[in-house]
């Protein structure tokens, strides 16, 4: 490896140290010392610190807290299982049926990637008030799992569809031609080929569910408390940093185990998601196609209902016990905007910068791996995995504990730098995934041909690689931007006073009882992120070369 590539890796490692490794270390130290700025005190005033594992001991010795761990697992695994079952028919439609209807359905479903869980929860809360509290079931385990599942279906559909699209049916035919039974072929060929993609989808859904904070805060019954919301209560009701951060570190460990497991199961994943135009077996029986279209249409109506309800609520000041709002006006919008006048700009500026930064880092990693081999890539991928396992609230607290001091505190309370870096860290995995798939699908012969023709590295990058991987780059950028725009967990800790985002404003308004102004802020979020999601869909289609009817 040349010195230039090594220096790029060194730069990336330094960036990762400040974004991932040191904050995680700081977070772990906080769980041992029980004060938010523990890592700083180690150097400035160590006598004030009391190192102890008591936070962890309390969790594992009390049924009340071990129950939070099991509840987290029960909720997340239930959401994974339910979203998988509900997504399967839709993925079949997308990958095995030739119909124009699926373009519309898929566009709407992709748009719902941009609808945050707390807005879906809030939609059900509004519908409950319209129905005179007859939908109280939403405030139960079933309601919690139901809302989380609705939020996760688009993710699961995407991954299962990719798996189906990239299943080379010639392998199945070869197995059958060799005399293997259908059952043996299904378990011996089809399932192993589908597993990596499906497992990836399951793990993404698992991580998003365990890390969710706002939905459990809004809907979870007191008898069913998950680690994220329980830690939130410990932080903001009991001010118990030791216990809260210990809970979240356990959550981080659970997530990391899930990712390592997925990594182990998906070693062949790259062969299945590159989209090489494999031979597909299409479904042609109308008796199967029509139910699939009807079912998928019904599911795809949900995001339309969600957007409509939030919009109607935002355009009213009273909506009780009637199908339509009683006082239609725009005062909720003017209230929300006058209270948080910079929130629209803040949302746009910070999320775009986060998207750009995530893309820059991911391109550096992928490009370097492409031109210099994979020597350091495993290490970098492992560090990205650590970031993947950090839920938003962990990122918020870890950055706060490391950087909120008199020397670097201005990056949190004066300028939105740590907020942007927090967004970048939390979604780096997504950007890296999109971009590395684009780079990996490029043939090395292109690079060799360019070198033979005397092209230098810079020209190769700008004139050959960049145009080919641009769809992957844009997809990564837009995905980071959209998911950052709906972030609550890290924004709560890292947003400067004048940089409150729409998501923070909306959630704040909802929790102080100003429901319609909260709806208005949420609707503005959707106006920003939904069109971006539609663009993501466009690029995703191109990136993965999906078969269209």
């Amino acid at each position: 490896m040349r010195n230039k590539e090594l220096s790029i890796y060194a730069i990336i490692l330094i960036i990762f140290s400040f974004l991932i490794i040191l904050p995680l270390l700081s977070f772990f130290i906080t769980s041992l010392v029980g004060v938010p700025n523990g890592i700083i005190l180690i150097f400035t005033d160590p006598s004030k610190l009391n190192f102890s594992l008591s936070g962890y001991e309390t969790i594992f010795s009390s049924r009340l807290y071990t129950r939070d761990i099991t509840d987290t697992l029960i909720m997340s695994l239930s959401v994974v299982a339910l979203s998988f079952v509900l997504s399967l028919p839709i993925a079949l439609l997308f990958s095995r049926v030739e119909t124009r209807a699926k373009i519309v359905i898929r566009t709407i479903l992709m748009i719902s990637l941009a609808i945050p869980g707390f807005i879906i929860a809030y939609v059900f809360i509004i519908m409950n008030s319209i129905a005179g509290n007859r939908l109280d079931l939403i405030y139960s385990f079933y309601g919690l799992v139901g809302v989380m599942t609705i939020a996760m279906i688009p993710f699961m559909v995407n991954y299962i569809t990719l798996s189906f699209n990239n299943l080379d049916y010639r392998l199945v035919e070869a197995s059958l031609a060799n005399g293997n039974s259908k059952i043996r072929t299904f378990f011996g060929v089809t399932i192993p080929l589908l597993t990596p993609g499906i497992v990836s989808g399951m793990v993404i859904v698992f991580l998003l569910t365990t890390g969710s904070l706002s939905v459990p805060l809004l809907l979870a019954p007191a008898s069913f408390q998950v680690l994220s919301s329980s830690a939130y209560t410990q932080l903001f009701s009991f001010f118990n940093w030791r216990l809260a951060t210990a809970m979240l570190f356990i959550l981080f460990t659970i997530n990391l185990i899930a990712i390592i497991l997925q990594s182990h199961l998906s070693r062949r994943a790259f062969a299945t998601v590159q989209g090489k135009g494999f031979h597909q077996k299409m479904i042609r029986r109308k008796a199967v196609i029509i139910p699939l279209i009807i079912y998928s249409s019904v599911i795809s109506i949900l995001p339309i209902i969600e957007i409509s309800v939030i919009g109607l609520s935002g355009f009213s000041t009273r909506w009780i016990l009637s199908l339509f709002p009683q006082n239609a006006n725009t005062s909720s919008f003017s209230n929300a905007i006058s209270l948080y006048p910079f929130s629209i700009y803040s949302t746009i500026i910070t999320t775009i910068l986060a998207g750009a930064l995530a893309v820059l880092i991911s391109v550096l990693i992928s490009y370097n791996a492409k031109v210099s081999g994979n020597s350091f890539r495993r290490l970098l991928n492992f560090i990205i995995m650590l970031a993947f396992a950090m839920s938003n609230i962990i990122i918020g607290i870890s950055f706060l504990s490391l950087y909120n001091n008199k020397y670097t505190g201005f990056m949190i309370d004066k300028i939105p730098l740590m907020m942007i870096l927090g967004y970048t860290t939390g979604r780096l995995g997504y950007a890296s995934n999109s971009i590395s798939i684009s780079f990996d699908s490029l043939s090395n012969s292109l690079l060799e041909a360019a070198r033979i023709m005397g092209k230098k590295g810079y020209d190769i990058f700008t004139k050959i690689l960049l145009p080919l991987v641009l769809p992957g780059i844009l997809e990564g950028f837009l995905f980071v931007t959209v998911r950052s725009a709906i972030d609550y967990g890290s924004t709560l800790f890292l947003a400067p006073q004048n940089w409150y985002t729409l998501a923070l404003s909306s959630y704040g308004l909802i929790t102080t009882g100003e429901l319609h102004a909260g709806s208005a802020a949420a609707f503005i979020i959707l106006l920003i992120v939904v069109p971006i999601s539609a663009v993501i869909y466009f690029f995703r289609q191109r990136t993965f070369q999906e078969i269209q009817a």
Partner: protein, 404 residues
Amino acid sequence: MEKKALISVVVAIIVVVAAIAIGVAYYNSTKTTSKEVVIYADYGSSLASKYFSNFTNATGIKVVATYGAMGTLTGKLIADASNPSADILFGGAPSAYISAETNNIFQSYTPPAIANQAEYLHGGLWRSATWDWYPFTYAVLGMSVNTVNLHKAGLPMPTSFLNLSNSTYKGYIIMENPSTSTTTSIAYFSLMYQYFLQKYDNVTSVAQSHFESYVHAVLNNTITPIQSDDENAEVALGQSSTAAITIDWTYMPSLYAAENGYTLAPALPNATVLGPTAMAIVNGAPHMAYAKDFVNWVLSKQGQQNITTIFHKPPIIAGVPIPAGSFSISQVQSDIFPYNQTFTTNNFNYITGVFNNFTSSASIHLSNNAIQFYKNAVVPVTISQNYFIDTSLYSNYLKATGLL
């Protein structure tokens, strides 16, 4: 990668660093002249923003406000303690301030307007001993009643918090979670715990047994969802077609009736809490001088008049008329239960623990381990006085508000 690319990366890093440096330099050059005060407010923004606007109009000092639940705001102040960005914590009950005070997040300050007003500080109980926090108004804890639903269900108007454990009210009560409603709900549950301690001669085990049974019974009458705070509970009650009662401060229902058109009215129970609403300057506040200006304006005649007109709450200083529906301190002081704020802070874990265990299904008993866990957190106190509110006052109040 060729030199050009490497140079591009280095240039990009330099540009980012330079931008940050310029930003910091710009901030440093402007911070001394930025005439603003950063306030964390435990109020709904629609009301508090009017109040802050009036402050800005009167003083020229801009308010940058964050609105939220008391727990979230205080937790954020503790998180920011090593590098505070807020100047003022505004609103919320003393129990939350007592708890936060131990984290050294408040700056001691003695506002001249109330420095020598023992009467308005409730004999000194309504402020921190070191003037870390102090009151700017007060309220009486009671119940908010959806009069339409109460009438429809044929239920009697509750006259005591004890009524709420009666099965007559099953399915008609909306409750707030004391873990998150650290002003209202915690005051209610702590009041009931203190009431049972007093009733059973401070025998903790007996009082706890009765308190736990009471909580169990009340939660058995409660409908889902448990609300996070009183603002949400008022909205849920106002919008419900069945729910009839929630716990709240007596000034709140008329406020929501006026603002949202809900059919809500206050119910003042006997043996209740007369609670101050507090504020504090944050330790290391970036705009300390303006923070003091804010505190002094809130305690000025103009600021107090705005409290009565915007929040519908009584003033804490003399010479400002008490709004309709509120009581003067002297009217109710001697009849109020001797509620102890420090007790509430010290028993927060036990009270919220009991609540959380019974909200599970309102039919599950505390396990022995859970009971022991929470009881370990209890700090015993002695409650010896024996005051109850004069029921004739309550009757007069009901007549005055048209509820009787």
